[in-house]
Amino acid sequence: MDAVFSNFDEYLKAFGLTIGLFVVSGIASLVLGTILAVLRVGPVSILNKAASLYVTLFRNTPLLMIFVFIFIAMPVLGYNFKVVENIEIAGYNVSAFFFRACLALTLYTSAFVCEAMRSGVNAVPLGQAEAGRAIGLTFSQSMTLVILPQATRAVIPPMTSVMIALAKNTSVAAAFGLAEATATMRGFTNDNADERIGIFLFFAIGYIVVVEVISLSSYLVERKVRVAR
């Protein structure tokens, strides 16, 4: 275990990047996935079809292929997203690699978020939407004020699963230029071939902690939502 303890700052930095990937693509997926879900249940037929096509495309494509497409095919076609490196947020600027990884994770995860959201929306009785419309709410008002807040509760358990999958899926970025937890683990084992099992356990524990934090927060949110009813 010396390998991990003597490089503990590396270990923390690695999980920091894992969490960074998770948080950024998690938020982006929630936003994009919710918009897609609204389009799927919405009244405009062409948008229904577009959202449904998106979900079919990205939910059925292996994540690794999406990464390969974004990291290897897109740059050859001339899209390398280097422009994001010129954008500075609070003194930090984002690397094109981080952006690409978040893009790949978001494209993939938002399809699952959309379906989880849709199941939540379907769990809200139709009468709620009719009552919203009957007092003159527009479609988007009735979505944001009436349907989505109520869908949230039904959505938490499936959404938690989606988010846990996302946290673990960030490890695919290990093979695409990001020194997150899995990549760092491979570096550690390469340098310390005699401590493979200890290193593996330590990194596995790191992932377990991350996932447990997600489960716990979802439990707290679920309880809060229940009390509010």
Binding site: A134, G136, L137, L145
Partner: protein
């Protein structure tokens, strides 16, 4: 509602407010509405009765376009019902609707249920909306429940809140779609009392109901529907004592036996 507002509602009493002309509606093979001609005048209370599946709920729901129609026209206050979007939402704000299953917003308090429309649709300030909401809740007798959530109220209380929610929009016409059918018998009266009160103050109302007592007391006109068509229209006294059609006689015979 103040006397002054009641006066506004009653203004122009007798002019046509809701006009259905040649309305046709199909659900797949089922011809749900057959060539419906119906005019509801300002201040008039029209009660729609008929056997299950006669299309009376569908008729009620077409008036604020919760159901679309295949043919014909529906006008409200002289204007055609818009097809989609903001114009339709604006029209619906003018038409209050009370559902059989109440449909209160489950995640909002009673007060928030009533203020949501005025604030979000009418752009009213929060304080003003709440003041008005409390007046309406007092009027339907659930003012002391304002901070609770719908699930904490009885069915009768919920339905009275639903009426207050619709009234908060100051609608030109109120639609009631079997408002007492989901209620326990002891709660039916408290809801009907509110409706009778509303009718006496001159609100234009279209009421789909099985409550013949309410029809006798409050209706200006009874519309009898069977198999998607309007079979008979008459005053309550005429209709109940002297129905002209066989369908109506048969129907009344069944429900008035006990």
């Amino acid at each position: 509602m103040t006397a002054q507002e009641t006066g506004t509602v009653s203004a122009g009493r007798g002019e046509p407010l809701v006009v259905l002309d040649g309305v046709q509606k199909h659900f797949g093979q089922l011809h749900a509405l057959k060539d419906i001609e119906l005019t509801v005048k300002r201040g008039e209370v029209v009660v729609v009765i008929g056997p299950s599946g006669s299309g009376k709920s569908t008729l009620c729901r077409t008036i604020n376009r919760l159901e679309t129609i295949d043919e014909g026209t529906i006008t409200l206050d002289g204007k055609d019902l818009p097809q989609e979007g903001k114009a339709l939402a604006a029209l619906r704000a003018e038409v209050g609707m009370v559902f059989q299953s109440f449909n209160l917003f489950a995640h909002k308090t009673i007060l928030e249920n009533v203020t949501l429309g005025p604030i979000k649709v009418r752009g009213m300030g929060k304080a003003e909306a709440e003041k008005k909401a409390r007046e309406l809740l007092d009027r339907v007798g659930v003012g002391h429940q304002a901070e609770k959530y719908p699930a904490q109220l009885s069915g009768g209380q919920q339905q009275r809140v639903a009426i207050a929610r619709a009234l908060a929009m100051e609608p030109k016409v109120m639609l009631f779609d079997e408002p007492t059918s989901a209620l326990d018998p002891e709660m039916i009266k408290e809801v009907l009392d509110v409706m009778v009160d509303l009718a006496q103050q001159g609100m234009t109302m279209v009421v789909v109901t099985h409550e013949m007592g309410f029809a006798r007391t409050a209706a200006d006109r009874v519309v009898f529907m069977a198999d998607g068509a309007i079979v008979e229209e008459n005053t309550p006294e005429e209709f109940f004592t002297n129905p002209r059609s066989d369908r109506a006689k048969d129907f009344l015979g069944k429900i008035l036996k006990h």
